[in-house]
């Protein structure tokens, strides 16, 4: 069985977000880049499955769309346990562009399972997974919180309204994963770090693809206002303020 994990290079989640060029671009100076947390958990699960049942998973590949600078993130993925990597040498312009590039890069590779994070920590678009499944003409399962495989039988659990649903999925398929897929991201061991430098990292040229969106401008969310507290007896005052000051009711 071959697994592909799509990874995205995103700013560390503690980054102080700033914009430049009249709020039309993200200020990247001083930013630490990391593997998108959902993608890291997806990779962790893939590696767990490979380690738990020898012979079940032949190969784990990671793919990213990004410039040369994103190779540090790719090598971390190799250190965690991916066997090889593909980098599409292009800036990830929007979800359609990224999905198109990945689809083009992997369409002949016959992966049994493709994993994408439910969204990326930078733009939170939640779009690449669905688009990629469509482009590769694959079944997709969204909101996946658990993934297990035994021989060729693969079961996934996904979140549905009011509960969860466990289904058996025929390969090949694409899973859009979220919380629960793995408990903690796997920490690269020293041996993994040493091996990462020898694992294959293929760089491919981007395919022709259009972008369907462009960024007009960024805005910072408004700072949170002060919090007012009321006694349990102060319902009348609460209603008054919600009506006259907050104008919510």
């Amino acid at each position: 069985m071959k697994i592909l994990v799509c990874i995205s290079d995103v700013p560390d989640t503690t980054t102080k977000v700033k914009f430049k060029d009249d709020n039309t671009a993200f200020e990247t100076a001083g930013v630490q880049w990391v593997i998108n947390p959902w993608d890291e958990l997806s990779l962790t699960r893939a590696v767990e499955m490979k380690e738990k049942t020898p012979g079940l998973i032949d190969n784990i590949t990671v793919v990213t769309v990004g410039p040369k600078e994103s190779e540090a993130t790719i090598r971390k993925a190799l250190a965690i346990g991916a066997d090889n990597a593909i980098r599409v040498d292009a800036l990830p312009k929007d979800a359609f562009y990224v999905a198109s590039q990945i689809a083009e890069a992997v369409k002949n590779e016959n992966f049994d399972i493709i994993l994408t994070g439910i969204d990326s920590a930078d733009y939170n678009g939640s779009a690449v997974g669905g688009m990629l499944a469509e482009m590769l003409d694959l079944t997709s399962v969204s909101s996946v919180s658990s993934l297990n495989a035994e021989n060729s039988k693969v079961t996934v659990t996904r979140e549905i309204e009011g509960g969860t649903e466990t289904i058996e999925a025929a390969t090949p398929f694409l899973a859009i994963v979220q919380k629960g897929i793995a408990i903690e991201p796997k920490i690269p061991a020293m041996r993994g770090i040493m091996m990462a430098r020898t694992k294959p990292l293929k760089v491919v040229e981007p395919a022709d693809s259009e972008t369907l969106t462009h960024i007009e401008k960024f805005e910072m969310p408004q700072a949170k206002g002060a919090c007012k507290k009321f006694d349990a007896e102060g319902v009348d005052e609460l209603v008054n303020l919600l009506h006259n000051e907050a104008k919510m009711i």
């Binding site: 540090a72 250190a79 903690e184 920490i187 061991a189 041996r191 990462a196």
Partner: protein, 593 residues
């Protein structure tokens, strides 16, 4: 980076260093950063959630966490791959030590195991000993300890009374004696034990397994800090140690002990950086939450002063740590070309830098004490509460000034080593001082001119002149300088300020020359404040020293005038500089500069 020059320990006292020849933390490569990241993730996920429980003395938990670090390969960072490790260079070892340093008692246990518990066997053991023990220590299968100190032998380590007598059949040494302050004593599997064979004057070193008959481990000591670290006495009652477990040669133990302490001091110098950065983060987190008089306390100048001073000292110390770490790597590579054994090459390169390792041990441990002390102060009353992490940091910091050679011993070592190496001809300290003495009145006319870095480097060269003059006058005045510890302290303090400040200046210059770094103006603020302070400290220590031994006012006048002139630096608006440094930390809400 240019090809690094091979440095001699202490040579900075007279030589000028090109900033291209120093390594700076901004040059860590991707793999080094990934190793640091792994150490950080391990601390965050496997150690930090248990800080409290570890501090309660849960030894089984400590052992379990140590083993997990072994499984991840962290115990093998310094060990060559043929003994189950990953053969990383010294810079990488120090970076890993820095990150681990933020983990309170775990850090002490981990460093004792990987350093003094493992490396005597790695560096001085034979192939059989390395295969039998180092492989298991590198993987965490066995946990190690180092047993040197005795009730009557602390700083005077060679005065230990533990004995090893060869058995009649010549197969064993029979070990008898008592050791104390043994880190990891309560759960270690192997021990490196120092004892005297028969009536030898000098120690020998042995590998002892904790479960051998006659090894008796005492109860854990109740300590001021590092409560999670097991510290015990160990008694040896007719313990049969196979002769194959003698490390190195008979009588080589004292040399082994001292060399390993050199290494331990260097690593301690790296540990304190991690602990200090963590204390800065805790403190700024609190300052950014705590309101008084209707505003966050982070907005107060008195708090900004503290935060800035914490950062200045950490950043400066860090500059010196990685400078010498690379110097060690360069020397180690050179030694490996001629040495038969890579282990001996490694330890000889590390212990070559005796002046620097003593500086970094003293400066680093005092830097951390300053940082945690001001950290508690920023926390106010909450800083005194065991609920806050800074309280643990404060208690745990104190031991660093005591172990790995007290700071008192290390201050003496700084001066004695520097004079010894000068007399050996490694650098011409006394010749330089003689030349300065010949034209001492001209020194009062020396000007600080030129561009930013030229001015800084000229000021630093003036510090070197002051120290050379004081050392020369000192050694001329006393037959036995060992009796004058107060004056040695004055000189040690000057040498420390010089090395730390020069390393900082070289780092900032290299960043400006080779890196496009948005924080450069802040780094210059750090340098401005540190250099200004260093001039004041050197002025005070030099004048105090001279006043202590120069008999008549007439003798003193030219030297005192020269010292005053050479330590006279332009005024700096340190208030605004410190505020800018603090504002950056406050904005980031963590140690990030």
């Amino acid at each position: 980076m240019n090809k690094m020059q091979k440095e001699k320990s202490g040579a900075f006292i007279v030589n000028e260093t090109d900033s291209n020849d120093v390594f700076i933390p901004e040059e860590f490569n991707e793999e080094q950063l990934m190793i640091a990241d792994t150490c950080r993730s391990f601390i965050d996920t496997e150690v930090a959630p248990h800080f409290e429980q570890i501090d309660k003395g849960d030894r089984a938990l400590m052992r379990d966490v140590l083993k997990k670090s072994g499984e991840l390969g962290l115990m093998g960072v310094s060990i060559p791959d043929n003994y189950g490790g990953f053969g990383q260079d010294f810079v990488t070892q120090m970076l890993a030590a820095e990150v681990i340093g933020s983990a309170y008692s775990f850090s002490v246990a981990f460093m004792a195991h990987t350093g003094i518990g493992t490396l005597p066997i790695m560096y001085y053991g034979n192939e059989d000993q390395r295969q039998r023990y180092v492989t298991k220590l590198a993987s965490g299968e066995c946990l190690g300890a180092y047993c040197l100190t005795e009730p009557g032998a602390g700083s005077d380590a060679n005065s230990g009374k533990t004995t090893a007598v060869l058995s009649e059949d010549g197969k064993h040494y029979i070990l008898n004696g008592q050791k104390m302050w043994i880190t990891n004593g309560g759960f270690c599997d192997t021990q490196v034990v120092f004892a005297k064979i028969d009536k030898d004057r000098i120690l020998s070193a042995f590998i002892v397994e904790s479960d051998w008959e006659g090894v008796e481990i005492g109860q854990d000591e109740h300590k001021l800090g590092i409560k999670g670290s097991s510290t015990t006495q160990i008694y040896y009652n007719d313990v049969k140690v196979p002769v194959e477990n003698l490390i190195g040669k008979r009588g080589e133990g004292f040399r082994i002990a001292l060399s390993i302490l050199h290494m331990g001091r260097m690593k301690l110098g790296a540990n304190v950086i991690g602990a200090a950065k963590s204390a800065v983060t805790l403190s700024v987190n609190y300052a950014n939450e705590r309101k008084q008089f209707g505003t966050l306390i982070a907005n107060f100048g008195a708090i900004k002063y503290k935060l800035a001073e914490m950062v200045i000292r950490v950043f400066a110390h860090e500059s010196a740590i990685y400078r010498v770490s690379k110097d060690i790597d360069v020397l180690m590579d050179d030694y490996k070309k001629t040495y038969e054994d890579a282990g001996r090459a490694a330890i000889d390169a590390i212990s070559h830098f005796a002046v620097e390792d003593a500086i970094l041990k003293v400066y680093g441990s005092e830097m951390l004490d300053y940082v945690v002390d001001e950290g508690v102060q920023i926390h106010g009353g909450m800083g005194y509460s065991a609920e806050m992490g800074i309280e643990r940091g404060y208690r745990d910091s104190r031991i660093n000034r005591i172990f790995e050679g007290t700071n008192e011993i290390n201050r003496l070592l700084i001066v004695e080593s520097m004079i010894k190496f000068a007399k050996k001809g490694n650098y011409d300290l006394f010749g330089e001082a003689e030349k300065l003495n010949e034209s001492i009145n001209d020194l009062c006319e020396m000007k600080i001119e030129g561009g930013y870095y030229e001015q800084k480097m000229t000021t630093i060269s003036h510090f070197k002149k002051v120290i050379a003059l004081v050392i020369k006058a000192f050694t001329n005045s006393f037959k036995s300088i060992a009796q004058e510890q107060e004056i040695q302290n004055n000189i040690a303090n000057m040498i420390m300020e010089l090395y730390i400040t020069e390393s900082l200046a070289l780092r900032v210059k290299k960043i400006e020359d080779t890196h496009n770094n948005a924080s450069l103006p802040l780094y210059k603020d750090i340098l401005d404040v540190k250099l200004y302070d260093a001039a004041r400290i050197i002025n005070k220590e030099a004048l105090e020293a001279i006043a202590s031994f120069s008999e008549t006012a007439e003798d003193r006048i030219p030297l005192v005038n020269a010292i005053k002139a050479l330590t006279d630096v332009p005024l700096v608006n340190v208030k605004d500089a410190r505020r800018r440094i603090a504002d950056k930390i406050i904005e980031e809400n963590r140690y990030k500069i």
